[in-house]
């Protein structure tokens, strides 16, 4: 009786959803954060509904099963434009983005009202390695550090980057569905305490679609208004991700709302004081994640301009020249150029600049003149775009960072490849 009363109460509350985001779905999932009674939680342990968005590549199938297994029972899974596990008898499938919120709420209600109809556990219920009954105390081996308690070997001492105080190093792989990383990114990490000692990129992030105006600009002149508003929206969303990561999800939602409702003529004057007051910039410290000049020019885009390099595909465009466009470059002065904060500041500056350019371009109806190359939201976008290899950058930037800084480095870089129509077909 009491349990049914409690589940009825829980069913009326907000729906805790853990999104497992597949290729080209990050933006659609981000939109769900603005739904009033959905809550995108940061770990599956807090969720009652798993949302699988997009077709997950077969290499990530086991990872998805692990995430699925970590939802506390009773739970449900909603498959949005995805391939459900063949073992599920009646998978909940949805194909239209506008139906997702309703389907999630309904699934949550069903899960809480009939907890007996549980989704089966799809992984074998066994420890990762046999250990029970072995050793003097059944701990799985001999001696204090020997054996495999609970099926995993004990962490062993290794050198530390900082000083001689070396103790146990923990190795693990993270991703591809970890909420703090871009979808698809798999990192193999070694940490001591909370400091990253070593990082290897096992799989790059999934390619993300670029806003339509940028793709159109590759083929024909387009109004600069559309391009610049799309750029401002992109930067707002990336800043929202960074706020979300710092635990400031309410402020993140405010930015997402601003991005969704961005129209010509807005200036977003509240943005800079709000970010300054949020403590986001202060939280990561100065001088972390500094790109070298070679790395910055390889990545290009706003990350290069944040490192003090004047690289911008808009510079040679007659349409932009009409508007008196000059790229914004972070000064190489007393602030450390090219660090995490410089990249976030660069986004802020470029949001301002894009809104100004858009307003000016609307007055004189300016169009782009160059075709085949465009300054995309993450960097240079061309028809013959080679996929950037972001692995080496992370592998050099992350070691030495504390955990929050490491995640902030990742959140401040354009890591996901731009999915142009050609690239999407190959993915």
């Amino acid at each position: 009786m009491a349990v049914s009363w409690l589940s009825a109460l829980a069913a009326r509350g907000s729906v805790p959803v853990y999104p497992a985001v597949g290729p080209a779905m990050a933006d659609q999932v981000r939109r769900l954060a603005l739904e009033p009674d959905l809550e995108l939680v940061s770990t599956p342990r807090l969720a009652s509904v798993l949302l699988v968005a997009g077709v997950v590549p077969s290499s990530a199938d086991v990872a998805l099963r692990r995430v699925h297994a970590q939802l506390p029972r009773p739970c449900g899974t909603l498959w949005y434009r995805s391939r459900p596990f063949p073992e599920l008898d009646h998978p909940q499938v949805v194909d239209a983005p506008e139906l997702i919120p309703g389907a999630l709420r309904e699934l949550h209600r069903v899960v809480l009202h009939s907890p007996r109809d549980q989704e089966p556990m799809l992984l074998p219920d066994a420890p990762p390695a046999p250990f029970e009954g072995r050793g003097d105390h059944g701990q799985g081996g001999e001696g204090m550090m020997g054996g495999m308690p609970y099926g995993r070997p004990m962490a062993m001492t290794a050198d530390d980057l900082r000083d001689g105080l070396a103790l146990d190093a923990i190795d693990f792989t993270l991703g591809p569905f970890f909420r703090g990383l871009p979808p698809g990114l798999v990192l193999e990490l070694r940490v001591q305490g909370d400091v990253v000692q070593q990082c290897t990129v096992q799989a790059p992030p999934y390619a993300e679609p670029v806003a339509a105006p940028f793709l159109q600009a590759l083929e024909r002149p387009v109004p600069i208004v559309a391009l610049e508003l799309a750029r401002a929206r992109h930067h707002l969303r990336r800043l929202a991700d960074a706020l979300d990561l710092a635990g400031l999800d309410a402020l993140g939602r405010r930015l997402l709302r601003a991005a969704a409702g961005l129209v010509l003529g807005q200036r977003l004057r509240w943005l800079r004081p709000m970010l300054k007051g949020s403590g986001l910039l202060a939280s990561v410290g100065a001088g972390r994640g500094v790109l070298s000049d070679t790395q910055a020019s390889e990545i290009g885009g706003s990350a290069a301009r944040a490192a003090g390099l004047s690289i911008d595909a808009r510079m040679g465009d007659r349409g932009y020249a009409q508007l008196g466009f000059e790229p914004i470059v972070q000064p190489r002065g007393k602030e450390v150029a090219g660090d995490i904060r410089a990249r976030w500041r660069q986004w802020l500056d470029e949001i301002d600049q894009s809104l100004r350019l858009a307003a000016h371009a609307a007055d004189i109806d300016a169009h782009t003149a160059k075709i085949g190359v465009v300054e995309g939201p993450g960097g240079r976008l061309a028809t013959d775009q080679p996929l950037p290899d972001t692995g080496p950058v992370l592998e050099t930037l992350l070691p030495g960072c504390e955990w929050n800084q490491a995640l902030a480095v990742i959140a401040s870089l354009p890591l996901a490849a731009a999915a142009t129509p050609g690239a999407e077909a190959g993915a």
Partner: protein, 114 residues
């Protein structure tokens, strides 16, 4: 009487607490895959039991050292009025030596948070 009431309250709170958190006989542990660390689909290579350095300990030692110094100041404060300038100069010398100690620890990086 008051003590008795307090004891009854404490004991009944304890009993209630134990009763509430007593493991239910039929309840099983969650299955193995559900018990592992959350890594977004990744896997830990090692067990979660691990030793790491409490890196603030030089700072802790420094704090204790300077707190002990305060103990010398209590008797000093008692005789200060009687002894006058001489006591002030002596305490000044003592604090100056300690101050050099702080500067040394600072130079050695003991105050750097890591």
């Amino acid at each position: 009487m008051d003590l008795l009431i307090l004891a009854v309250i404490a004991l009944s709170a304890l009993a209630l607490g134990l009763l509430v958190q007593r493991p239910r006989p039929g309840a099983a542990l969650p299955p193995w895959p559900a018990r592992t660390t959350y890594l977004g689909g990744g896997e830990p290579a090692t067990h979660a039991w691990n030793r790491f350095h409490v890196r603030y300990y030089p700072m802790t030692l420094l704090l204790i050292a300077f707190e002990m110094e305060m103990m010398f100041m209590y008797p000093w404060a008692v005789v200060y009025v009687a002894e006058g300038l001489k006591a002030l100069v002596e305490m000044g010398m003592f604090l100056a030596i300690l101050g050099v100690g702080i500067l040394y620890a600072w130079r050695e990086g003991a105050l750097r948070w890591q």
